[in-house]
Symmetry: C2
Subunit: 332 residues, 2 copies
């Protein structure tokens, strides 16, 4: 497989430097780490909001660092958790004295290393609250997970928590809105092709010329069903119905939606999926308050998409709609 | 080949509807056309700025419709020019009486159909100026082109012209800054894999497991050289040196750069390319004023990237740096 890389061992390092050289006025890398923070971190009189996880999901997470979203993020190696040391450095760099919310995707390595880091920083007086995102409705327990996986819904958690922190809320309030998103969001994905990690250089899993996988994870973990290829409308229906049946929303409920590309999916195809998604939501009597379409939480070069639906109330609408200014997401 | 589509004949129609349903407050589709315009077009007391071309390059062009950029865009079928009728409807919908700038990528179909449309609207008193973008330094004349091809540098033309129009300039002034970008920008691309059109469902061209193509066009048109696969650094050097040798800039010149993904390239890899690009520019004594990294002008599901360099003066810095609010590009 061909990739635009140099030595596979250097991909995260070179990627972070390439990101920094595109955004020198926004981002800063902590020396000798794979931790990236706001150029002006820690921000005075604001709760810090941090996240992190394995690389390969770009623009997640460092792409969401900036006003109204994350204060910093730790990047592990490809599909591997950052170390506890890196999480520790991240939290410390983003604490201005008002505490830090750690947004953790539910993978065993991330959860464990964040926990260790939190124990360490708490010994020096830093207050940390945590929210664990487990929005993937496809499977309970998985290759790297006890319980559900954290996937694209995480971006909405970042957005809501970041906006709440920017508005001057305290740590408990920031944690509460983050948890509110977790309680109201569901995601399910599909793969048309496998991702290929730089190190292995070969597909992580085999998928036939006429096969797709429903319920796929963002590291190529198995989904719910391997099936013959289907039309975009049929795939959209499968994913949407699974998410909606999990969320069990009332008619008239307002929702935010994401059609998320897995890394190698043309934007044309994502809009085609969104077209059917919005029709389906209408058929269910749901009202779309906002619809995002793009590559938010990718899986290297996997072809496919995920659909995220999040029920929103007035508070979440205000927070998700608040202005934000980051490399990957900016609104006026 | 697997794609997230329904009937290949419907891809553009469904894509546009999916885009509209994601941005109902920003975009409006002219009835019975593939023309999309600002919801509030035509904008009073402002020169209209329009573009268009074949589909398959998303977010180009409709993704750049909004405050500070395009007023509207016509979408042809995949890799096919919009008709003269569609260009005519586009121009008329975006003319508030102050004239319209048509930004045309240099492909024979686009140029011819825009010219016919302009003749038609001029008969009804609409004033139109044109700029033809031909930033691809790889080849003179090509499959669909006399002279150079218009590729990713077009986005900078949209940005500068749109900002100038938003600032209240007249048609001649808007045309002049658009031409200034054209005169100062160069791009070159590479493909690791071929694109696959929805209609054909197979690779447009064959590329071996260990081959790449340098100087590729955005429709899979042949480039300058087919070569053995190289590292990201080597590819970046080839592309950058070709662009710089064409532009012939003085030491100390400030530049804007784009590392553009072709549709199926992980963002990780684009940042790795940007890392080497910025080093190289420094070695040439050039100063990067702004660096963009992302999918701006794609070629369906082609894997690869292009590098764009544009020399900027105070006027272009002001225009390229002006705030913009579109589906695909927003700054504060």
């Amino acid at each position: 497989m061909k990739k635009l890389i140099n030595d596979p061992e250097d991909v995260v390092d070179e990627m972070l430097d390439g990101m920094l050289s595109a955004h020198p006025d926004r981002l800063r890398r902590l020396p000798d780490t794979q931790v990236v923070v706001r150029e002006d971190a820690p921000v005075d009189e604001k709760v810090g909001v941090v996240s992190g996880g394995g690389s390969g999901h770009e623009p997640t997470h460092a792409g969401y660092i900036g006003d109204g979203m994350l204060d910093g993020a730790a990047a592990g190696n490809v599909f591997s958790s950052p170390t506890a040391d890196e999480f520790e450095a991240l939290i410390e760099a983003c604490d201005a004295g008002d505490g830090v919310l750690a947004v953790v995707k539910n993978y065993e390595g991330d959860v464990m290393n964040f926990e260790t880091a939190i124990e360490l920083v708490e010994m020096t007086g830093t207050e940390v609250a945590t929210v664990v995102v487990d929005d993937d409705v496809a499977v309970e327990d998985s290759l790297y997970t006890s319980g559900r996986r954290g996937v694209c819904g995480t971006i909405l958690v970042h957005k809501a928590a970041g906006a709440k922190a920017a508005a001057g809320a305290d740590l408990e309030e920031v944690q509460q809105v983050a948890q509110k998103v977790v309680d109201n969001v569901g995601t399910m994905g599909t793969a048309l092709t496998s991702c290929v990690t730089p190190e292995k250089g070969e597909p992580t899993f085999d998928l036939g010329e006429n096969e797709i996988e429903l319920g796929i994870g963002i590291h190529g973990e198995p989904g719910t069903e391997r099936t013959e290829k289907m039309s975009a409308d049929e795939i959209t229906e499968e994913l949407t119905e699974s998410v909606l049946s999990d969320l069990d929303l009332s008619e008239g409920q307002e929702v935010a939606t994401i059609v998320n590309g897995m890394g190698a999916t043309p934007m044309m195809e994502l809009f085609i999926v969104n077209n059917r998604l919005q029709e389906l939501l209408g058929e269910h009597g749901l009202e779309t308050w906002d619809a995002w379409v793009g590559d938010y939480m990718t899986s290297l070069d996997m072809e496919g998409c995920s659909i995220t639906v999040c029920a929103v109330d007035e508070e979440l609408k205000q927070l998700l709609g608040a202005t934000v200014d980051t490399p990957a997401l900016t609104t006026q």
